[in-house]
Symmetry: C2
Subunit: 442 residues, 2 copies
Amino acid sequence: MTGTLQQLVDRNDIEMIRGWLDSRPPHEIADELARLDAVAAGVPFRLLDKDPALAVFEELDPVDQQRILVGLRDQAFHELVEEMDPDDRARMLTEAPAKVARRVLAGLSPRERQMTAELLGYPPGSVGQTMTPEAVALPRQVTAAQALDVVRRKGAEAETVYVLPVVDPGRRLVGVVELRDLVLSAADVPVADLVDTHVFRARATDPAEEAARLMRETNTIALPVMDSEDRLVGLLTIDDAMEIIEAADTEDVARQAGTAPWPGHYMAVSVWRLARSRAPWLLLLIVASVLTVNVLQAFEATLSQVTALALFIPLLVGTGGNAGAQATTSAVRALALGELRGSDLPAVIWRESRVGLLLGALLAAVGLVVGVVVVGGEIALVIGVSLVIICAWAATVGATMPMLAKRLRIDPAVVSAPMVTTLVDATGLIIYFGVAHVVLTF
Amino acid sequence: MTGTLQQLVDRNDIEMIRGWLDSRPPHEIADELARLDAVAAGVPFRLLDKDPALAVFEELDPVDQQRILVGLRDQAFHELVEEMDPDDRARMLTEAPAKVARRVLAGLSPRERQMTAELLGYPPGSVGQTMTPEAVALPRQVTAAQALDVVRRKGAEAETVYVLPVVDPGRRLVGVVELRDLVLSAADVPVADLVDTHVFRARATDPAEEAARLMRETNTIALPVMDSEDRLVGLLTIDDAMEIIEAADTEDVARQAGTAPWPGHYMAVSVWRLARSRAPWLLLLIVASVLTVNVLQAFEATLSQVTALALFIPLLVGTGGNAGAQATTSAVRALALGELRGSDLPAVIWRESRVGLLLGALLAAVGLVVGVVVVGGEIALVIGVSLVIICAWAATVGATMPMLAKRLRIDPAVVSAPMVTTLVDATGLIIYFGVAHVVLTF
């Protein structure tokens, strides 16, 4: 039981690997496999029995599932993909190369292939691709006991039976009944008396993130999904909703730091891939920050007369950047959680400008003291006044930009903290030298 | 139906407010109430009938619940708090002033008061405070039909009946049965045959976030919670787990931007409170960035000889800051999701230093071109070389700091992007002038 899985695989110690696998739950095994490269991960995976192998496989991210699949022999390959839930299978296929996708679809039973093909017909990132198509629907005119019989007959295949959509003969949604209510009520109560008709629902073409956040807000464990003619086509289950929200949050967090999200596990993604996900933003930002060079060039005369001004450049632009980043991050998160809407823009500008002024006044006090000690009264005054204006400006711009992005239907998280920082750097310098010009010429 | 709820309340237009309330689901009403101040929010809330009022109340954050409660008359007050789920009530009470808490506890029925008091006995942020104590536990020796009878008798009170813990006579957990399996199996099958004994569980004193992430990883819809002697004391349900994860992520996001998390809705929190949540970090950071002033003072002679060096200060420190922030954010998120552990520190340093070198080389190409155009070859070389070193350094430091925090058992999210940026600003300047010294003296 000594050493990491990587070390056991390197030593090719089959017995120890078996011991290691036996002592761990599926999600921990999946975590470890995700850290290994494709060849190494195949070794322990092939040592798993069929059921544990499926359980581990279901816990893997789509990219990791693919890496494992590619290394399997035909029989193991087909058993795995046949047993996967249709929505998990569809998610994996959207990210797989065409060769792998064909091999998967070719080996499926007709029933599973049809369900997968339907899910793949929905747009990427939509509810349709993430829902389970195997909902147990109830007719309206049955009793609780009859409904339980339907669940017993059809429930074994379904991903969930806790929320049961009630439909009319045209498969249009009447409402939902919870399994709990069927079990708790008397046998002869009509389902029509138990059905909750004020239910939330999603269209199969809606963005999955929106539907998932609605489920979280309304504490729904399975959300009925409708096609464009309002017929029931599936259910979005809570465990999938949690994964969608987690992935969306991870993406937002990455975007906020000026990184493209990458697929899979941090430790498994290659150094090249990691650099590639960060390079575009860094390049854009360094090009944008050539602006700061231009601004400083414009003030080069002032700068060479009063070199003391240069000493405070990093402090001023740094503080402005920090104040801007705080406001941006607050606004992006509030937008993601639905606390802010596009129409709140004027209110947000009014709030953040006051917050910025308050913070600026506080920091100006520090700036004044440091300024007086290091360079004397006049430049200290320049620093103090600049800090107030820069902070108010940075907080306002920082919160406004994601709100504008939202109004333009761009993902607000694309307005990253580094982007705001870089913008505030250049404008902060203009403010600084502008204030210096006014104060020093009097 | 015109105007926002705020406007209707301002006009005191009771009929319009009623119309507005009737046309919206509880979670939307709760959203709007959260945006109003306490006095204004009380007006529409008191117009709601009892059931919708409870539904709206349950959707509010604990701070907003309190604000509403304080404005209610005794009878409405007691009806509401008596109907709340014990875990929601406990969560609200931990954040309420003593006066409100006493009024709440005094009005409760003995049964509800006892349950609440027990939950309040667990540490803040623990599983115990978030679980529901009303789990329906089954004895091991019954059949499926008998188990369903137990559910029918005791299930009405419970928050969930989909996961049923199976316990021995000492209330120690044997495993769990899903309601689904009871319904789908034949009536005379013993529960002992259906029970899943390899179940995850949490201690009531465990951090709630950890338990919630475990549920998300293992697709569990209710997690058994045990006391220190391994007796069942409750269940953590998936909807509460989702809220815990969302709150934890919001906190992480705020910390990452150098902000203290604030309670409640962005639009409802006061400008003072918002400034207060941001001020401590900004103050700390501005004090830390006095370092940059010191560094520049040390190089003042060089700076006044070669003022052209000053032009590139914001570009260099800005780029370093961005590269550092990217690495920090990636590491913090990977730690939060459990992809990284403290022991990965050497591997992370090795990865990030290579990523940083790659990015630095790329950016150096841009820096060289801009440098040659603006200030000529020699300083351009200084800029290029500095960019390579600064990027490698920033990425390494940025990823290392949260890992170190984790090892020291500090929340890694406290290592904010602005903190890394500020640190990298000062060290980046030292690198820049160091390189300048070497290049320009040859």
